[in-house]
């Protein structure tokens, strides 16, 4: 990446026999919103704390705009960081907390006052300057933590699951605010979360980690629509998996057979004829209709109503269970357990996966 601000090269960190980071390399672009996503134990927090300087790498290197920072202590790295529990200093007021990084940088007091006021305004907390952290709600503490991390104008902001302690509604509001803030400030955000929706809605790019190594890196749409491995397909959203045999065709129209049915997959790369490959199929790409309306015939086994959508499990004698997600406002059939239906999908709905 030409405008890379931060590079991680071959980072390895072991905790006993566990490899928390297993040869991770990553380039982070200037001003991008990058999310490290993975289940617990995937190494995402280790990677973030290694970038911040709290975790020492066993091997590998970190560099910031070409300067090696691998051996630097956290205070020299000049990154803003928002901690999971906010870690606001309980013995200082809101203003005191925001002023802390400026005081340790020996700013003069009038500059500090101006900057603290600016930061309070940035997160709409002007009225709370003299409160103690313990007198604030979770969402307010979150805002102060953000203001504190940004007060010294770091070029990179590290966020460790900053919204995980908040309730769902507040989390959604703050997601928008964080995105606005990111666009407004042009600061590079490195964001750790285990919440796939959060990752999809906020990020420019997402890094999916599993067992200490990177599974796939890409934009939200790219990862969602073209997952490379079963893990990515399953972790980001829901997916049906079909074991298919490639029976012929050419790039753009690969012929596949599975469960006694045959269908076409619009894949740019054509796997060798005769090979067995795993396909991912998103539930919302599957159409459901009256018997005969679509290509395959099945039976409704289970139905789950979710408000705007309904999830239907359709069983097919060869393909097994197929999860279908359909909008509930769409008139047509009303699936009920036991009902015979037909289902099918467009040729570009299926994606070939690598074995992993």
């Amino acid at each position: 990446m030409s405008n890379s601000v931060l590079s991680v090269r071959n980072a390895v960190k072991r905790y006993g026999p566990v490899r928390a980071l297993d040869d991770v390399s990553l380039e982070i672009g200037d001003g991008e919103f990058l999310t490290l996503l993975g289940p617990s134990g995937s190494g995402k927090t280790t990677l973030l704390t290694a970038i911040a300087g709290f975790t020492e790498l066993d091997s590998g290197s970190l560099s910031l705009r070409g300067t090696d920072i691998t051996g630097q202590t956290p205070d020299k790295r000049n990154f803003g960081m928002v901690f999971q529990g906010y870690a606001l200093f309980p013995n200082m007021t809101v203003a005191g907390n925001i002023a802390f990084p400026l005081k340790v940088r020996k700013w003069n007091s009038s500059d500090i006052n101006t900057r603290v006021a600016e930061c309070l305004a940035l997160v709409q907390m002007e009225k709370y300057a003299d409160r103690l952290p313990s007198q604030l709600s979770g969402g307010q503490q979150q805002r102060v933590a953000l203001a504190r991390a940004l007060s010294f104008r770091p070029s990179v902001l590290l966020l460790d699951e900053p919204l995980s302690a908040l309730d769902k509604k507040l989390r959604a509001d703050l997601q928008w605010e964080l995105k606005d803030l990111h666009r407004q400030l042009g600061v590079t955000f490195i964001y750790v979360t285990h919440d796939q929706d959060e990752a999809l809605s906020m990020s420019d790019r997402i890094v999916i980690l599993k067992d200490g190594s990177i599974q796939q890196i890409g934009g939200p749409g790219e990862l969602y629509n073209a997952p490379r491995t079963p893990f990515v397909a399953d972790f980001l959203g829901k997916s049906n998996f079909i074991e298919a045999e490639v029976t012929g065709g050419a790039p753009g129209a690969v012929q596949c057979a599975a469960g006694g049915e045959s269908f076409t997959v619009a894949s740019a790369a054509a796997p060798a004829t005769g090979s067995r490959r795993k396909l991912a199929l998103r539930p919302e790409r599957v159409r459901i209709g009256a018997p005969g309306a679509e290509a395959f015939t099945g039976q409704v086994r289970q139905l789950s109503y979710l408000g705007e959508r309904a999830h239907v499990i359709v069983t097919h004698p060869g393909l097994g269970e197929i999860l279908v997600s359909c909008p509930t406002w769409k008139a047509g059939i009303t699936p009920e357990p036991g009902l015979g239906v037909s289902f099918g999908w467009d040729s570009d709905a299926c994606v070939f996966l690598e074995d992993a």
Binding site: F54, D75, A87, F89, P90
Partner: protein, 282 residues
Amino acid sequence: MTPGLLTDRHRYWLLILPALAVMIIFYIWPLVNILGISVTEPEPGLGNYALLAESRPIQTSFIITFRVAAITTVFCLVLGYIVSYAIYNASKRGVGLMVALVLLPFWISVLIRSFSWIVLLGRSGLVNDALMGMGLIDRPLRLMHNEFGVLIAMVHVMLPFAVLPIMANMKGIDRSFVNAARGLGASEWTAFWQVYFPQTKPGVLSAALLVFVLSLGFYITPALLGGGRVLMISEYITYQIQEFLKWGTGTMLSVTLLVATGVVILAAARFVNLRRAFLERG
């Protein structure tokens, strides 16, 4: 008996009645008697209390008592803070061992611990013998029967009382605070001094109060290591009553010490949450 004759309130009182009775018979009643003797022996009036203003030895003894208690407190706080901080930063396995080592002295009588110091610090004690053996000194150093000896042993005896409240306080401090400070650009020292230390103040104040108050009334250790030369008030009282049979003076000093201690605690209550310091320790 009709139900409701005993309300919950009454029942709770019944529960504490035995303990209350013991307290009244063996503690409060004797205390009242002591107060009584102090204003009636040898003759009714406040004559005994006038000694506080007149008697040099009594004044000296009070000064020594407060000085020894204050110095002991300072040393216990410094050492206790370091020990607690080491425990806070130790590995999980290390913590158990270190806490056990802090608590271990509690299982050994104060008398024995004080005698041990005599064995160590005496004229021909281990320390002097070793120093002379190495040729570092020609004559034995006076390590005890003076305030120095009393202080060494007092600090040793009181140290756990400083460690426990500070340790309990530190245990409640999340590590992320120091990390956050470091991440925001603070040096190790700044992070400690401006972020960590202020949060340990309640523990330090509790420890200070506990050690100071216990030191004020301490008897065995100063008596043994002071050798009659460092007369703290408790020992002074013993002399008055056992040697001179001056019950009036002895009881007057007891009451004065009690009041002085009470004043210290009340003054401290302004800064320390006493309830937390003494009742809710982990």
